[in-house]
Amino acid sequence: MSQIDEQLRTELQRQGVWVTSMQELYNWGRKNSIWPLQFGLACCAIEMIATAASRYDIARFGGEVFRPSPRQADLMIVAGTVTKKMAPQIVRLYNQMADPKYVIAMGACAISGGPFKQGYNVLKGIDRYIPVDVFIPGCPPRPEALLHAFMELQRKIDEQKLTGSDKADFLKPEQPSEFPVPRFGKHDLEPSANRDVFQPPVIER
């Protein structure tokens, strides 16, 4: 597959012969029709709405079809503060999405809790429970930043392999596509993070 020499390919293209591979064609189709799940959590959602509207127009990148059902969505844009009361529902929605599925953590709150980090009721980052593909900092990030993240995700999808040992995670049968939903505890969510997903690097002091 895709073992064709780049130079040969451009030469062939000049002669009117278009050569592609299954993987390229498949990824080209996938990356240009990413359907986000339609939900917003806080002020970042307003920027997400602006991104979808005519001025910034996420439709240029094939992401305009916001689906109100997780079954039809490819991308979850976690746009806003994830409260601890909301976190189990976010994980549940993620579990209900069909593979391949991607997550963008939009804004400071979805990344780390942001300005509400010290609050008793705010989750310190959605990456504690589900794997995140692209993080966008900002409070809130401008629509351009969300478009940048979207294009970054497209690049990531384009590079995914369909075969071989380094193939994409969603094609590996041993890779989980569902993650345990945290329970409401007496003092906090239980567990406070999914250690299989949340493995922060050791901080050098």
């Binding site: 601890k84 009361k85 980090k117 010290q118 609050g119 008793y120 009721n121 310190k124 980052g125 409401f184 505890g185 007496k186 003092h187 906090d188 406070s192 993070a193 949340f198 922060p200 901080i203 002091r205």
Partner: protein, 238 residues
């Protein structure tokens, strides 16, 4: 002491100036027999003094405030809670004492411990007379076991969710409330997060740039480094 009167703002606009709190207090005491009311002074620039009402007559007092034609406080705009911890109040007293055979005036300071309590504060306005706020407070007898107050939802329907919120965050149980459940936190939650002695759960294990309070909390997750931490306490002279 201000008197009830009529102030003209613009031609045609008539504003009824509200009675003073002292007048309201004496009228409540006349209308609700046995009611114990205290005026709580507010020394801040806002000068928003309030009425501390007793829990037994609270509903009757609230009903009076609402239906009385000159007050007609028909709009409860805000209900909130306050947590007061145990506190020591120092009082300076001048006492005459015999010191070295002579009688002298000595200032003695005595400390009085005021036990903590929880408080519910209601801000009331009148839509008809366009005046307010009249602020009323109720206090529980302590912070631990006796945290019950009468609900005023039957008088002002808008207090329903706000009393639920106070129950959720401060733990005041409103008796007579139609639907007293937690409103913001989940039902399984057991703490009252707005109380001053609340300790939040510790999930500060991943702090790339900690500072101040977060640094103190993150430190509990740091691996011990005896060769570096505490090095400043090692003295060179043996």
């Amino acid at each position: 002491m201000e008197h009830r009167g009529i102030a003209r703002l613009r031609s045609g606009d008539v504003l009824l100036v509200m009675e003073s709190l002292e007048q309201i207090k004496s009228r409540i005491e006349a209308a609700v027999p046995g009611a114990k009311i205290e005026i709580v002074q507010n020394g801040s620039p806002s000068q928003q003094h309030s009425l501390l009402i007793d829990n037994e007559h609270a509903v009757a007092i609230a009903r009076f405030l609402r239906v009385d034609p000159t007050l007609c406080l028909d709009f409860c705009s805000n209900v909130t809670g306050v947590d007061w911890l145990d506190r020591l109040v120092k009082k300076a007293m001048k006492v005459k004492k015999l010191v070295e055979g002579q009688e002298k005036e000595i200032v003695e300071t005595t400390e009085e411990k005021i036990p903590g309590y929880l408080e519910a504060v209601y801000h009331l306005y009148s839509m008809i007379h366009k005046h307010g706020p009249v602020i009323i407070r109720m206090r529980t007898s302590d912070r631990a076991d006796h945290t019950r107050l009468p609900s005023l939802t039957s008088i002002w329907r808008s207090a329903e969710f706000q009393e639920r919120e106070i129950f959720d965050l401060y733990g005041i149980r409103f008796e007579g409330h139609p639907d007293l459940r937690r409103i913001l936190m989940w039902d399984e939650f057991e703490d009252y997060p707005m109380r001053k002695d609340y300790r939040e759960p510790d999930d500060y294990e991943w702090e790339p740039t900690p500072h101040d309070e977060v640094l103190e909390k993150a430190k509990q997750h740091h691996a011990p480094r005896p060769e570096l931490d505490g090095a400043e306490q090692i003295s060179t002279t043996q």
